[in-house]
Amino acid sequence: MIARILATAITEAHIARRNRWVLIAVVLMVVFSLVLSAVGSAPSGGLGADPLSITVASLTSLSVYLVPLVALLMSFDAVAGEVERGTLPLLLTYPVARWEILAGKLVAHTGILVIALVAGYGAAALIAVVGDPAAAAGVGALWRLTWTSALLGATFLGIGYALSSLARRTSGAAGLAIGLWLGLVVLYDLALLAAVVADDGGIFTTQFFPTALLANPADAFRLFNLTASQATSAASGIGAAATSIALWQSLVSVLCWPLVALGLATLAFRKVQP
């Protein structure tokens, strides 16, 4: 089982390297992290936190958009591409389970994401530490951001595979992926905010709002990192809501989503008839 998953992972890594995905992901993460740390290093004064923790809070807001986007871009082609190229029927006659194929792709794509995250966050951290040695106190927050970003990426990779299986054509899968990204990462929060404002402290705000935040992997990721760093004051938007949700709840959501996404992807992939 492990050997078959690794076989697919190695092959996918070859493909991603040739298609320049490794390079694209790394460059994207590094450029955005550097820009952010250059812009975001100004307001650290009155908060009493070390510069690295402030950078991490900024990076959290960046990653919540960028990591799902990169993950979806890498994954939308995973099944639909095999269907369109005509490579799927042969692959499925091999003694390999469908979930093993997806798990192999997940390992390779998550690996690439981790490389990009380490490069991007590392560059931002280096700048923070060079600027002020006291920043080293924020290494814990940076480490937390790195592994949660990897899990967030894995979640959206899994969701991307599911969309790719449902669409069966790469063009359709790309559309679905972009739509989902807009929906979960951008519109979801806007809709929640609008609802909270309209509700004005009523039953929605107290009962449904925390659950709605935890149900969205991107929001859970942001909540967990901000709550754990106690840097909520450095971030705008959902900051206030974060205080009402316990840390373990957002942690469970962050940990469970990758498995749920892989499960959904496997279910969708099973329905694909070559």
Partner: protein
């Protein structure tokens, strides 16, 4: 002989259209069987059902003693799809290495496999740069992994030049001699007749004929054609003696059934001082194939 593939009363339809109806067949270990039929006859569908890629509506199928598409069957069956395609960013070597890993085989054999199909020189080039024939040979190489018990080959020689075709059939002969069962599809009867033990003809989703070529030739009982060149001026005499004959160009054409062949020949040899030459033309392989595949009002 043990049966590697047994199918009984298989039926499969797509949205009300019957792709396969009541198909029964078997392939024994060491046997080479050709599956013939024109485009849309159901060859590829039948193969996909055998591989477990699509489920049958009804009927029973046993592949190497297991259910089609199950882990046990997949470990023993090799498949070559029609127009084999691979990811264009991978090299031939990487692709074959991947397939070796999936079958749990030692990856050091990848180069030997590519050499076997004549791709050793291109092993480290991307498949995107390969010609159609080269891609087909990558497909062939992957069917040879791990000594499969059963090979399912969908139009294996399409895109191959005549020399590669001969090499390919030589390879199949060796595999069959070692006990592998082989089911291959083709639309050219002329190509497979000398290379397979048995023929199956599929038409409109139905198995319309099965047997060796001599069996099919007998069963088809197609008429024999004779072309008679007459000596100058005797046309009318011969036409009078052989009322079935018709004049085509400078010769007389005549057809008769297999049973009447010798009688007709005797009759013609009785006219020998009026006949300059005679050609006896047996039904061609393509005639036999058309006879079966057009039956049932096709």
């Amino acid at each position: 002989m043990t049966s590697t593939l047994t199918i009984s009363h298989l039926t499969k339809s797509f949205g009300g259209v019957k792709a396969l109806s009541d198909v029964s067949l078997h392939v024994a270990a060491g046997e080479r069987v050709a599956l013939l039929g024109h485009n849309g006859a159901g060859k590829s569908t039948l193969m996909k059902v055998i591989l477990g890629l699509i489920a049958a509506d009804s009927g029973e199928i046993s592949v190497c003693g297991a259910a089609p598409g199950g882990a046990a069957a997949r470990a023993k069956v090799a498949y070559l799809p029609e127009n084999a395609t691979f990811h264009s960013a991978l090299t031939g070597l990487e692709q074959i290495t991947y397939y070796l890993r999936l079958r749990g085989e030692n990856t050091s054999g990848a180069m030997a496999l590519l050499d076997k199909v004549g791709l050793g020189h291109a092993a480290k080039r991307r498949i995107g740069t390969y010609s159609k024939g080269m891609r087909q040979r990558v497909g062939l190489a992957q069917t040879l992994i791990g000594r499969p018990d059963f090979l399912v080959l969908d139009e294996p020689t399409s895109g191959l030049d005549p020399v590669s075709r001969r090499d390919f059939y030589a390879l199949l002969d060796r595999l069959a001699a070692e006990g592998a069962a082989i089911l291959l599809s083709s639309h050219a009867l002329t190509e497979v007749e000398a290379r397979t033990d048995r023929l199956l003809i599929l038409s409109g989703g139905q198995m319309v004929a099965t047997g060796s070529l001599p069996d099919l030739r007998r069963e088809a009982a197609l008429p024999v054609a004779m072309h008679i060149t007459t000596r100058k001026g005797y046309d009318a005499d011969i036409l009078a003696a052989l009322p079935n004959a018709i004049r085509v160009g400078g010769a007389l054409h005549l057809t008769c059934s297999q049973e009447d062949k010798l009688g007709t020949l005797a009759q013609i040899s009785g006219l020998k001082n009026k006949v300059a030459d005679i050609d006896v033309i047996p039904p061609s392989l393509e005639d036999i194939y058309s006879h079966f595949s057009r039956r049932d009002g096709q």
